[in-house]
């Protein structure tokens, strides 16, 4: 019903609506009065006014004048923060979609993105998130409601994840929401998948090295050739290698996704070897290398996805490894240790399934010794500085982009409500606190819980191959248990199983070629069909199937 009436309204207004929305939102003038203002760039103003006009902060201060044409928002009891950054996400990207049933190798070929690169999928640094983003406000609703206005976003797949962009979490078109593109190249210590080179961590390193050396040579060659092409063999046009030029020239950073101490060491070693401007993404153990990070002047996009214990005690289970117990206890203390050592860092969700946990965990860093100011900085100005947009964003200053998050209560306290969020000066009001926490996946939340229990025969679409398997799901309210089995991986119990209004999610540790890998599965059930996505270290793999009678 609701959807239908909305649809009719849309039809009725037609094209005109776009323009009226434009007129209404872009030229709005707002004055938030009597609010506590955390400017971040300067001292907090206990009672003051922020004026927003044409998408920018027009003035801020205890005595800032309220313009006559402003819509006045009484900020009594509210705190205005610079809009919060999530410094590493996949926001704005389409959710991984189940692929159509492939018929032999040909269909699999067709699902590969079109590219004339000399390098296989996953080894193409020229892939830009800008081309993968989609416009529209609705997709970011959950994140705005949580208090975010800005994010760094990049593709999920590949060894090279491609070039990232800094985006505002509102905008009808991609060109409107992108603030800076490209920001950096992103790299993950993983394999190309499908048995192709690099098929191991060893190959990942050698492939990276060879590409950087080839890029260096191609750049030199192109320069020499441009100066005098006569009598010289023509250098090739190679988009993949050319995308690496700014990296080797130090004009574009490279974000290495690295959480463990040894992954970070490997990233820092590579950065040193090729004089790269490196940033660490993840950095759960970065504190162990704080002096070296400081010395190499490497910033960290610090994951707030703290390790959690999820399984319950079983009499047959081995006691947990002491290192694991220490890891959980130490990780929330990492931010304070980085701050103390003078390492630059910005907070990011690190794949948290509930974006609200970002602020809960940011509060935990302050309970573990990080000064509150530093924590706020790590999601505002410090993020803007690391992402190179601090001349526009990250603090409440006259002339900066009007990205603001207005909160009743303290952002790091448990009892808080995000009341208003401004993105590019556009106001997004939040009427009441949502009953169910939004997820990073976005979308509307309805209280009903889907019914997903049952036994399913599924087909997992590994590129070029269909892997049959079964899912046995037992649902108890919102909690899901059961097993996932395939011929390749055997049978594994599922864990963290959850059922939401429109689907389900769980994770499992499966045996894959002798290694235990963790997979995260999301999906939904429609009638007797099931479909969804398996996120594995090898990337996202779609699956679909039917319920067994």
């Amino acid at each position: 019903m609701k959807i239908r009436s909305f649809f009719f309204a849309f039809l009725a207004i037609g094209l005109f609506s776009v323009f009226s929305a434009e007129a209404q939102t872009r030229n709005d003038v707002y004055a938030i009065t009597n609010a506590r203002i955390v400017t971040v760039s300067g001292a907090a103003i206990e009672k003051g006014t922020v004026v927003v006009r044409d998408g920018l902060i027009e003035s801020v201060g205890a005595d800032a004048r309220v313009p006559a044409d402003a819509r006045v928002l009484d900020g009594t009891g509210l705190t205005v923060y610079p809009g919060f950054f999530d410094a590493l996400t996949n926001l704005g990207l389409a959710a991984p979609q189940p692929r159509p049933q492939p018929v032999g190798g040909q269909a699999a070929q067709q699902t590969q993105p079109q590219s004339n690169s000399n390098y296989p999928n996953g080894m193409q640094p020229e892939v830009s998130v800008f081309e993968q983003l989609k416009g529209g406000d609705a997709q970011f609703e959950a994140n705005r409601n949580a208090g975010f206005t800005t994010a760094l976003t990049v593709g999920r797949d590949g060894v090279f994840n491609g070039q990232s962009a800094v985006i505002n979490l509102a905008g009808d078109s991609v060109s409107e929401l992108v603030i800076k593109s490209p920001f950096a190249e992103h790299f993950t210590f993983r394999t190309a998948g499908g048995g192709a080179y690099p098929a191991s961590l060893l190959g990942t390193f050698s492939a990276f090295r060879q590409m950087l050396l080839d890029a260096q040579r191609l750049q030199d060659w192109q320069k020499t050739y441009a100066a005098n092409p006569k009598g010289m063999k023509r250098p090739e046009m190679d988009k993949s290698l050319e995308a690496l030029f700014p990296l080797i020239n130090g004009t574009m950073p490279i974000v290495f996704n690295a959480n463990t101490e040894r992954e970070i060491v490997r990233a820092l070693d590579l950065a040193k070897e090729f004089k790269l401007n490196a940033i660490i993404g993840g950095g759960q153990e970065a504190w162990k290398l704080a002096p070296r990070l400081r010395q190499q002047n490497v910033a960290v996009l610090l994951s707030l996805n703290f390790p959690k214990r999820t399984t319950s005690v079983s009499p047959e289970a081995d006691p947990e490894n002491l290192e694991t117990l220490r890891f959980r206890a130490e990780t929330p203390k990492g931010a304070a240790r980085l701050a103390q050592a003078g390492v630059r860092f910005a907070f990011q969700t690190g794949g948290l399934t509930n974006v609200n946990d970002f602020f809960t965990n940011a509060a935990k860093t302050t309970e573990n010794g990080l000064p509150i100011d530093s924590a706020i900085r790590a999601m505002t100005l410090a993020s803007a500085q690391i992402l190179g947009v601090d001349n526009r964003l990250g603090s409440i200053e006259t002339g900066k982009i009007a990205n603001l998050t207005v909160v009743r209560g303290d952002i790091l306290s448990k009892d808080k409500t995000i009341t208003h969020v401004f993105v590019d000066g556009r106001l997004f009001e939040q009427k009441e606190k949502p009953k169910t926490p939004p997820t990073t996946g976005g979308g509307a939340t309805t209280p009903a819980i889907a019914s997903v229990g049952g036994n399913y025969s599924i087909t997992i679409e590994i590129p070029g191959q269909s892997l049959p398997g079964t899912l046995a799901l037992t649902q108890q309210g919102a909690i899901l248990s059961g097993t996932i089995s395939t011929q390749m991986t055997g049978t594994a119990p599922i864990k963290d199983g959850k059922v939401t209004s429109d689907g389900f999610s769980f994770s499992a540790n499966v045996d894959y070629g002798g290694n235990q890998i963790e997979i995260n599965v999301t999906g939904k059930v429609t009638g007797s069909s099931i479909s969804g996505t398996i996120e594995s270290p090898q990337g996202a793999i779609p699956f679909s199937g039917t319920k067994n009678p």
Binding site: G195, G203, D214, R217, D511
Partner: protein, 464 residues
């Protein structure tokens, strides 16, 4: 666990700890009154070893040390050189780059894991150094790294900086069975026969020779454009130039002989034949070329290639004048290499010191690190093991294992520390973050952890 000690030290010493620890490393150590198995100059009874600046400074009777020296009374105990495992895949996060048959561009140095608990277990078995090799899935595998097992130290402290570089080759079953077809429609990897393996190696060296020529021509200004640096061929050029050691996995004598003939053809020497279970059949051919062999003592028949193995292999090779070392190729057997060396005395009657050399000095020579380690001689690194009994006794166990004069394993301290670790565990388990949430089913492990499995139980993943 090492971290725990350092941590406790820091707590007790406070701010002056960094300088103190530095001084600690350089402290003189005097081992008193031991039976010293030198692995070079016989067995010395009631002998002292003085260690200064990480090195063995003096060996003799009634040695004097300065007042602040650490003195270890080793009366009734045995001191041997630190054991060197000439074939190991410990502390590696990745072993095989199985996508291609030639992966000389890879190096295991990129995948070192200095927190791998097998390092500490190796120390507890008296092992102080290892030849970390790429797996045997490829005819030409990746580059090796020779490390000392400095548990608790940052990863960059592990590789022996002046060890000559090496590389793994592999012949026979392992490289030919890796013609896996990962995806339907994909061409399976070449080669799939033993003759194909040889062709892959010869082809690689032909390419390397051409590559070397392209650079020689460029340096001689015969060509204008700088050649492309090729990370696959560079290590092979180093082999042609005699700068990189080839460690060639193989079982059958015909294949090892074939490989040596290819090396003859291209004018280089194979450094070691790894495994070489049939090496006794071609002992004179191996000896003539100055190639060494690194073997298992008495395991066989675990695959077809291993059917002709005999326990007298080491003795026959030794009598033919071949340098023999004994390796483990296993995180588990690495801890008992002393007993493997003892078996060589039993099978074929190799003298005691020559048997001991097979896990110490010979391995050091094969890896080009004998200038600094492998035997107890003045001037060498103080890489030593203090045993409660003769290391060839089944009752022997290391009490102290030291590398460059620093103690990395101390059995007494290990036992003392267990109570502290248990206390730490209990405190950590009390934290909310470490309490189970109780909302999901426990995962019951479908199989035991790798380190608990017996060798025979798991597919060798292209090793062995």
């Amino acid at each position: 666990m090492r971290k725990a000690i350092v941590f406790l030290l820091i707590i007790s010493i406070g701010l002056i700890s960094p300088t103190f620890l530095l001084a600690q490393n350089k402290t003189e150590v005097l081992i008193r009154n031991a039976t010293v198995l030198t692995a070079a100059k016989g067995t010395l009874e009631n002998t002292d070893i003085l260690i200064q600046n990480d090195k063995i400074a003096k060996i003799g009777k009634n040695l004097k040390a300065s007042a602040n020296a650490q003195v270890i009374d080793a009366t009734g105990k045995f001191v041997s050189p630190g054991i060197i495992d000439c074939h190991s895949h410990s502390m590696l996060d990745a072993i095989n780059e199985f996508s291609y048959s030639v992966t000389s561009m890879t190096t295991v140095k990129d995948a070192l894991n200095p927190t791998d608990i097998t390092i500490y277990r190796a120390l507890a078995g008296g092992v102080t150094a290892g030849n970390l090799l790429h797996g045997s899935a490829n005819a030409i595998g990746g580059q090796n790294t020779v490390v000392k097992f400095k548990w608790g130290k940052p990863v960059e402290d592990f590789p022996i900086s002046d060890a000559p570089p090496g590389i793994k080759f592999a012949l026979g079953e392992n490289p030919k069975r890796t013609h896996v077809q990962v995806q339907p429609g994909q061409t399976p990897r070449y080669p799939r026969t033993r003759m194909g393996v040889m062709e892959v190696i010869r082809d690689a060296f032909v390419r390397a020779r051409d590559y070397k020529k392209s650079w020689d021509d460029f340096r001689a200004k015969k060509t204008k454009l700088v050649p492309r640096r090729d990370l696959e061929l560079e290590p092979l050029v180093e082999i042609l130039e005699g700068k990189r050691l080839v460690h060639a996995h193989g079982y059958r004598s015909d294949e090892h002989l074939n490989l040596m003939l290819i090396a003859d053809e291209f004018g280089f020497k194979i450094a070691t034949l790894q495994h070489g279970l049939e090496a006794y059949k071609i002992a004179p051919e191996i000896a003539r070329r100055g190639t060494a062999v690194s073997i298992f003592v008495d395991s066989w028949s675990y695959k077809f290639e291993a059917y002709d193995a005999i326990p007298y292999n080491a003795a026959i090779l030794w009598k033919a004048g071949v340098s023999v070392s004994i390796n483990s190729d296993s995180d588990e057997r690495m801890r008992r290499l002393n007993l493997d060396a003892a078996k060589v005395m039993k099978y074929g009657g190799v003298p005691e010191e020559d048997s001991l050399k097979m896990i110490t000095l010979n391995a050091a020579k094969q890896l080009g690190i004998d200038r600094r380690t492998g035997s107890i001689e003045v001037g060498k690194d103080a890489d030593l093991v203090i045993w409660n009994a003769h290391p060839f006794s089944v009752y022997a166990r290391p009490e102290i294992t030291m590398i460059e004069g620093e103690i990395y394993f101390d059995r007494t301290k290990d036992i003392q520390r267990r109570a502290d670790l248990e206390k730490e565990r209990q405190e950590l388990e009390k934290l909310d973050i470490n309490k189970p949430s109780g909302t999901t089913q426990p995962r019951i492990p479908s199989e035991r952890r790798i380190e608990e499995r017996d060798e025979a139980e798991y597919g060798d993943g292209g090793n062995q």
